[in-house]
C-alpha cells in the first residue's frame, strides 16, 4: 500500500486479494476516510489481470466512497481494466474526474429525484443456493419499479437461465464470483453477467429448437439458451483478457 499526499489522497489497490492484503487495504481506506478528503484516487496500476473479485472490490470501494461523500477516482487503470469496466457499464461511474463530473452529477441528481432508476449490482457464487439468493435480490430491485408482471417474470427467467448455465458450463471455483449488473435505459433493461470461468459463449451455443424433434429425441436439457434468446432483444458475448466471460443482454418492453 502507498499513501500519497501530494495533490490528492491515493491508495494502491492490490492485485492480491488474500485476507491479509484486504485487511491491509481496508485499514488504509479507513485511515484515509478519517481525514475527510474530497477525493481519493485508487491506484489500479497493479491490476494487469482483472478478475470478477477485483470488480467486486472496486464496486465495494465505490459504495463506501458514496456513503462517505467522497469522490472516487481510478488512477492508472490498465487498458484491460478500462475495457472490463466499460463493458460492465461501470467505467464512467468509477472514473469520475473534473471533466466528467458535471454529467455525472446531473445523472446523480436525476437518480436521486427518481427520474432515472439507480443501477443494480450484485455478485454471487455459481451454486444453487447463491443463485436463488441473487435472484431474490434482483427481483426485489425489479419490484421497486412499475414493470408489467410478465416482464418481471421474463427477466427472472432470463437471470435464472443464464446463471444456471454459468454454473453448469463455466467450471468456476468455489470462491469465484459472478458479477451481475443491471441498469434501465427508458423502457429497456441492460443486464451484464461477468464470470471468470472457462470460455463459454452462450450465444454461439444456441441451436434452433423444434418441439417435435426435441420430444422425439427425449431432450430434457438445452432449452435454456433458446428461452433466453427468445425472451431478450439483444445478446452479446466477449471474452476479456482471456480471463472474464462477459454476457450482455438487452430486454425491451412497452411501445
Amino acid at each position: 500500500m502507498q499513501i500519497d499526499y501530494i495533490d490528492t489522497l491515493t491508495l494502491l489497490v492490490p492485485a492480491d486479494l488474500s485476507n491479509d492484503a484486504m485487511t491491509h487495504f481496508d485499514r488504509g481506506l479507513k485511515k484515509l476516510l478519517t481525514e475527510d478528503p474530497q477525493t481519493i484516487a485508487f491506484d489500479t496500476s497493479q491490476l494487469k489481470y482483472v478478475t470478477s473479485s477485483h470488480i467486486k472490490l472496486l464496486w465495494q470501494i465505490y459504495n463506501i466512497c458514496l456513503d462517505a461523500g467522497v469522490t472516487m477516482k481510478l488512477k492508472s487503470p490498465s487498458p484491460g481494466l478500462v475495457r472490463v469496466l466499460k463493458v460492465l457499464d461501470l467505467y464512467e461511474l468509477l472514473t469520475e474526474n473534473f471533466e466528467s463530473m458535471r454529467p455525472q452529477l446531473r445523472k446523480a441528481v436525476r437518480i436521486e429525484s427518481g427520474e432515472i432508476p439507480p443501477p443494480y449490482a450484485d455478485e454471487f457464487r455459481a451454486d444453487s443456493r447463491s443463485i436463488d439468493e441473487a435472484l431474490e435480490g434482483f427481483l426485489k430491485f425489479l419490484r421497486r419499479f412499475t414493470l408489467p408482471e410478465v416482464v418481471i417474470f421474463e427477466l427472472r427467467t432470463v437471470f435464472y437461465e443464464v446463471a444456471t448455465n454459468i454454473r453448469s458450463h463455466a467450471q468456476m471455483g468455489d470462491d469465484d464470483l459472478v458479477v451481475f449488473t443491471a441498469r434501465f435505459e427508458g423502457s429497456k433493461l441492460i443486464m451484464v453477467f461477468a464470470d471468470s470461468g472457462i470460455p463459454f459463449d452462450q450465444i454461439s451455443s444456441t441451436l434452433d429448437f423444434d418441439p417435435q424433434t426435441a420430444s422425439k429425441n427425449g431432450q430434457t436439457r438445452g432449452l435454456g439458451l433458446t428461452l433466453v434468446r427468445r425472451l431478450t432483444d439483444k445478446m452479446s458475448y466477449v471474452r476479456m483478457n482471456d480471463v472474464i466471460n462477459v454476457l450482455t443482454l438487452e430486454k425491451k418492453w412497452g411501445p
Binding site: 444456471t164 429448437f209 427425449g218 431432450q219 428461452l227
Partner: protein, 123 residues
C-alpha cells in the same frame, strides 16, 4: 398414495385410476428438482400409467429444465396411448410454454376436472 402438503420444490403424486396419475410439482420446477420430475414420470410410465396429469396450480416458476422434464418424457406416454396433460397453468407459466412454441404441442387443460375428463374419468 394421497396428496401431501405443497412445498417449494416438493413433487407430490396420487393415483386416480390404474392408468392415471396426478403429479403436483410444487411451487418451483427448476434445475434443482427437474431430474426428480423426470424420474417420477419415468417410474410412473414403467408402472403402466398411460395418463399423467400435471397439476400446476401451485407452480410459480418453471425453468427450461422443468420444461425439459415434461418434453423429454411426453413421447413415451403418447406411444403408450396416453399423454402428459397439464392443468391449472398460470398465465406466466403458459407464457413460457408459448415462447418455446409448446402451448400447442403439449396438452393443456384449464382444470384438473377437464384433464380427468380427457382421460375418460368423470369426477
Amino acid at each position: 398414495m394421497g396428496p401431501v402438503a405443497v412445498d417449494e420444490r416438493n413433487i407430490t403424486r396420487h393415483t386416480v385410476r390404474d392408468d392415471t396419475l396426478v403429479i403436483n410439482p410444487g411451487r418451483m420446477l427448476d434445475n434443482n428438482n427437474a431430474h426428480e420430475m423426470v424420474e417420477a414420470i419415468a417410474l410412473a410410465q414403467v408402472k403402466g400409467y398411460k395418463f399423467i396429469i400435471m397439476d400446476m396450480s401451485d407452480l410459480e416458476f418453471l425453468s427450461s429444465a422443468g420444461v425439459g422434464s415434461i418434453l423429454g418424457t411426453v413421447e413415451t406416454s403418447r406411444k403408450m396411448g396416453g399423454d402428459i396433460i397439464l392443468c391449472n397453468v398460470s398465465d406466466t407459466i403458459l407464457h413460457v410454454l408459448k415462447v418455446l412454441d409448446l402451448a400447442d404441442f403439449l396438452t393443456i387443460k384449464a382444470t384438473q376436472k377437464e384433464a380427468l375428463t380427457l382421460c375418460g374419468i368423470d369426477s
